[in-house]
Every structure is written in structure tokens, then in C-alpha cells.
């Protein structure tokens, strides 16, 4: 098999997101944060968001991690910015389904944009935690903060 299958997991878009992550860094003072750790490797990600009137106006993240976790975080910020809290949480669920090998409808897959390229993570079960780290962190944040703002 050699490394051919690597190309499925680490497509050019994935590598590009990992190396040039979108929305990397701190965002404004009004932001709320949630930090999450991948207990198997010790990677930490800090996701921040500005939530106003039930809408996710801005998302940023910091932290270090593997290619999959960094690319996934970058894709997430692009996909979920300017979504309502409920839409964002719905898409987080769809993403989680996608990379655990469950089928999602075409509309949801379109909405996930670049993140849908991570579907091949389903073939690498050990890496699912890497791919979902940022999404779970944002979900926790939205659960905690989304209803109160």
C-alpha cells in the first residue's frame, strides 16, 4: 500500500489549512473561550468566539497539534462563522457524524465545505479525536455561552 493512502487523508487542502490556518490567533475582547485537550497526545486547543444575539459572529483558535487537528480547526472557523448558534451546533453534529463514518445528506456536506474533505478520517479511527477536538471545544462553548447571549 505504501504511503498512497496518505494522500486521501492528507489532501493538499488539508495540508494547506494546517500550514496556513484561517482565523488563527486571539480575537476581540468580547470573545468567550473554551480550552480542550486531546488526552492521548497532550495537544491543547483554545477556541474563542464572539456570540451576539444568537449568532456566531467570529471564531478564532490557538494551540498546537497535528496536521489533522490544526486543519480541522481552521476549516471549522471558516464553516461556522456567521452561523446561528443552532445552525453551528447542527453542523458540528453533522461533522462528527461524517468523520465517524455515518452518512450525512448532500446539503449538509456542502455546508461543511472544506471540512467535508476530512471524511477519510473515518478510515483512521485513532485520528478521530484529533479531527473533532476543535469542534467539540466550540460545541462546549456554544452550549455554555450560546443561550445566554
Amino acid at each position: 500500500m505504501s504511503l498512497d493512502q496518505m494522500n486521501d487523508l492528507y489532501r493538499e487542502v488539508v495540508l494547506d489549512h494546517a500550514q496556513h490556518p484561517h482565523h488563527y490567533g486571539q480575537i476581540g475582547k468580547d470573545s468567550v473561550h473554551f480550552q480542550m485537550e486531546n488526552p492521548t497526545c497532550g495537544d491543547v486547543i483554545d477556541v474563542s468566539a464572539i456570540i451576539k444575539d444568537g449568532n456566531v459572529d467570529e471564531i478564532g483558535f490557538t494551540g498546537t497539534g497535528c496536521t489533522i487537528s490544526q486543519a480541522s480547526a481552521s476549516m471549522m472557523t471558516t464553516v461556522l462563522t456567521n452561523k446561528s448558534v443552532s445552525e453551528a451546533r447542527d453542523l458540528i453534529l453533522s461533522f462528527s457524524d461524517l468523520i465517524t463514518g455515518k452518512e450525512i445528506n448532500d446539503k449538509k456536506e456542502d455546508q461543511l465545505g472544506d471540512a467535508s474533505l476530512l471524511a477519510s478520517v473515518a478510515e483512521f479511527p485513532a485520528r478521530i479525536k484529533c479531527a473533532t477536538l476543535a469542534w467539540h471545544a466550540l460545541d462546549e462553548l456554544l452550549q455554555k455561552e450560546g443561550t445566554s447571549k
Binding site: 493512502q5 492528507y10 495540508l15 491543547v44 497535528c66
Partner: protein, 411 residues
């Protein structure tokens, strides 16, 4: 060397397979070793001919099972050279052994203001039980720092071990860097101040001969599965007077001597620490795993593994942009090689190697304080056993080159 690697590998049929379409190179032996055919045969034979509970029955099968279980205890005692098999307690794992010492013994001897000394390189299983003990007993947990090559800084050890020290708990061989620690020097430091020495032998037993009397360890813990036995069987050795003083932490069947409605008394060591039905087949498998390595000879194993490590070390350090943690000297390194490809996360390295049939561990290896000390979140770790061959090592070296090329060229 009185054995041939190709013959040895025939005893480990799991090695003769393809993973992801590639020849398997199993190099995660520090996590768990594979079991030889004699071990799995013995376990199967026990279940098919002798399975029954131990120490309870008055019938033939139970007597046979009890004999096999106790013979395994004798083999363990002989293997690490204890004075008596009564000094061997069967547990579930190294972790359970160390927790038993921390709770059953530590709680009895550590008082508020006392000190417990470990090293910054300890596996969590030899760190958290002491952290918890220190918290329960209002004691201080102190750390021996490391030299740049990962060895204990003996000046630091001399400073942190004081008259207030009650317990010194360290690994015999580190699970990340693989250095054999200077137990004899620590033993002298610990006993000089009347502290007790606890040794985590999980990474030592499959790579070198262990003699607990020579080490003068008060307690010595290890897991069977790191030695080619089934999972779920662990060992705790303790000096007789200390085991007599140690309290059981699990209570129930078979560990009691007499029970009334209000009180109970315990059996003698070691049975007072083996509440409930033990891992009988695991103990029997451990006995056979010990027979196996003793037949090969620990000295022969150590010499052979040094050759494997030399090739691995030379090959990996020859790849530019790869950082190796710990000494670049095979005399100081047993079994494991932790490394990182600069700019590539170890999880990505391990996934790439897996697709090439090479199984290594990537992560913090349950040693987060050491990772903090090394300034990394995680490392990739290749670890060898006596059944590995040069082809496994070469496959790893070539795999690391390919993975590096993939990430650094594609980027």
C-alpha cells in the same frame, strides 16, 4: 547467543502477517509485548483441562489449578531472586501494584510534613499514586530533575532526598528515554535517611536480569504483559517485614482468615492482598513467559537488543531533521527510542508509519511532566523486543524517511 531469531519468530505467529498491505514491523513493545505460542498454548490448555477456582476447592481440578497458580508465583520469585515466593503478590498490573503500595503502605508510614521523592521522568502510574498520597497525608511530593541526556541528576537527587523523605519511588528503566536508572545509588541515598525505595520495573523486566536483593529494593512492581505474558496480571514484590505491615486495600473473598458479624482478620501475605478470584490463567501464562525468556537468557537478550538498538539509533540519527531524545549511546538505552521529525507532529508520523506496516506509539507516553521538561507535547516512540529483527529496524528507518519526505515535500 544460543538462539536463532528466525526460530524465535516462529513462536510469535502474530508477527508473520501484513498490516495495511505491508509486512508488519511491531515496534510498540514498551506498550505491550506479544505472547509466544508456549504462553497462549499454556493458557488454552489450562482452560481446556484444569480451569477451576484456586485456594477454595477440595477437589482434584481445584488442587491442580492452585498448584499451577502457586508454581507461577515460585517462578516469579526465582525470576527476580526474592528470598521467598510469599514476597510475591499477584495484582492486575504495575499500576495496581504501585497503587497498592501507595495506599496500603504509604498511608500508614507517611505523615503530614513528610516528603515523597520521585523523578520528573516517571510514568503516570508511578507519579499519580504518590501525588494522591501526598495530598491525602499533607506530605510534599518532590522531584529528582534530569540531566540533558535524560539521566538522573544525582546532585538533584542528593538535594531532594532529605531526613523528611519517607518514600523514594523511581522507574528502573524509563519508558520514554529508556535509560537504566542508578537504583543502587538511590537505594543508598534513600536508606541512609530511612526512606523506603519503591521501584517501577515495568520497562526493565523484559530487557535485563533483575535481582531485587541486589537492588535492595523495598518494593518492586512490574506487569506480565511487558514480558510476553497475558494482560491483566501484575506483580508486586515487597520485603517480608514491610508486606506484613502493609494493609490490604481490597477486601472480600479468600483474603480473610476469620469473619464475624463485626470484625474480620486477614490471611497471611500474599493472599491477604489477593481478594476475589485472581487472574489464574494470567499467572500461569506469566510463569510460562518467564520460562521462555529464561531459556533464551536475559544476558543474550540484552546483547541482541543492543545490536538492534545500535542499528536503529544509527539509522534514525542519520536522517536530517530528526530529534532523538535521550543519550545517543546504546549502552545507556534499553528498549526504547523516542524521536520527532522536526515540523511533523508525532501523530502524523505514526499514521504514516502505520500505513507502511510499522506500529509505533505516538503521544505523551503517560509521562506528561517529562514531555514538559523536553519542551514537546508528544513524541514518536519505537520500542523493541527480542523477537524483532533487523528487517523491522530497517523498515522503520526507511519509513521515517518516507514519512518525512511526504510531509516536507508535499507542503
Amino acid at each position: 547467543m544460543n538462539w536463532k531469531i528466525n526460530e524465535v519468530r516462529k513462536d510469535f505467529p502474530i508477527l508473520d502477517q501484513q498490516v495495511n498491505g505491508e509486512r508488519l514491523a511491531y515496534l510498540d513493545n514498551a506498550a505491550t509485548m506479544q505472547q509466544s505460542r508456549p504462553v497462549t498454548d499454556a493458557v488454552l490448555h489450562y482452560y481446556q483441562t484444569t480451569h477451576s477456582n484456586v485456594h477454595r476447592g477440595v477437589y482434584t481440578l481445584s488442587n491442580q489449578a492452585t498448584d499451577m497458580y502457586e508454581q507461577a508465583r515460585e517462578k516469579v520469585a526465582h525470576f527476580i531472586n526474592t528470598e521467598s515466593s510469599e514476597q510475591i503478590v499477584f495484582t492486575r498490573s504495575t499500576t495496581e501494584s504501585l497503587n497498592l503500595v501507595a495506599q496500603g503502605f504509604g498511608d500508614a508510614v507517611v505523615n503530614p510534613g513528610d516528603e515523597i521523592v520521585i523523578s520528573v521522568a516517571e510514568h503516570h502510574s508511578n507519579l499519580i499514586p504518590w501525588q494522591q498520597l501526598a495530598s491525602r497525608r499533607s506530605a510534599h511530593l518532590k522531584y529528582i530533575e534530569l540531566n540533558e541526556d535524560g539521566s538522573f541528576d544525582m546532585d538533584s537527587a542528593t538535594r531532594v532526598i532529605t531526613k523528611k523523605t519517607k518514600i523514594v519511588a523511581v522507574a528502573h528503566v524509563g519508558n520514554v528515554i529508556g535509560i537504566q536508572n542508578p537504583i543502587n545509588k538511590l537505594e543508598q541515598l534513600a536508606h541512609k535517611v530511612n526512606a523506603y525505595l519503591v521501584v517501577d520495573g515495568a520497562q526493565a523486566v523484559s530487557h535485563m536480569a533483575v535481582d531485587v536483593q541486589e537492588l535492595n529494593a523495598d518494593f518492586y512492581a512490574f506487569s506480565g504483559h511487558k514480558l510476553g505474558a497475558p494482560t491483566g496480571i501484575g506483580v508486586l514484590f515487597g520485603k517480608s517485614n514491610l508486606l506484613a505491615k502493609m494493609n490490604p486495600v481490597q477486601f472480600g473473598g479468600e483474603m480473610i482468615s476469620k469473619v464475624t458479624r463485626d470484625v474480620a482478620t486477614w490471611k497471611k501475605t500474599p493472599l491477604k492482598f489477593e481478594a476475589g478470584t485472581p487472574n489464574i490463567s494470567g499467572a500461569i501464562g506469566l510463569g510460562v513467559a518467564i520460562d521462555y525468556v529464561q531459556k533464551m537468557g536475559l544476558k543474550s537478550i540484552q546483547d541482541y537488543e543492543e545490536k538492534l538498538m545500535q542499528r536503529m539509533l544509527t539509522g534514525i540519527e542519520g536522517i536530517s531533521g530528526v530529534t532523538i531524545y535521550g543519550p545517543h549511546n546504546t549502552k545507556k538505552r534499553l528498549g526504547v527510542l523516542s524521536f520527532n521529525i522536526d515540523g511533523v507532529h508525532p501523530h502524523d508520523v505514526a499514521t504514516g508509519l502505520d500505513l507502511l506496516g510499522i506500529e509505533v506509539r505516538a503521544g505523551h507516553h503517560c509521562a506528561q511532566p517529562l514531555m514538559q521538561d523536553l519542551g514537546v507535547a508528544a513524541t514518536a516512540r519505537a520500542s523493541i523486543a527480542f523477537y524483532n529483527n533487523m528487517a523491522d529496524v530497517d523498515q522503520l528507518i526507511d519509513g521515517v524517511k518516507q514519512v518525512k519526505e511526504f510531509f516536507l515535500h508535499e507542503s
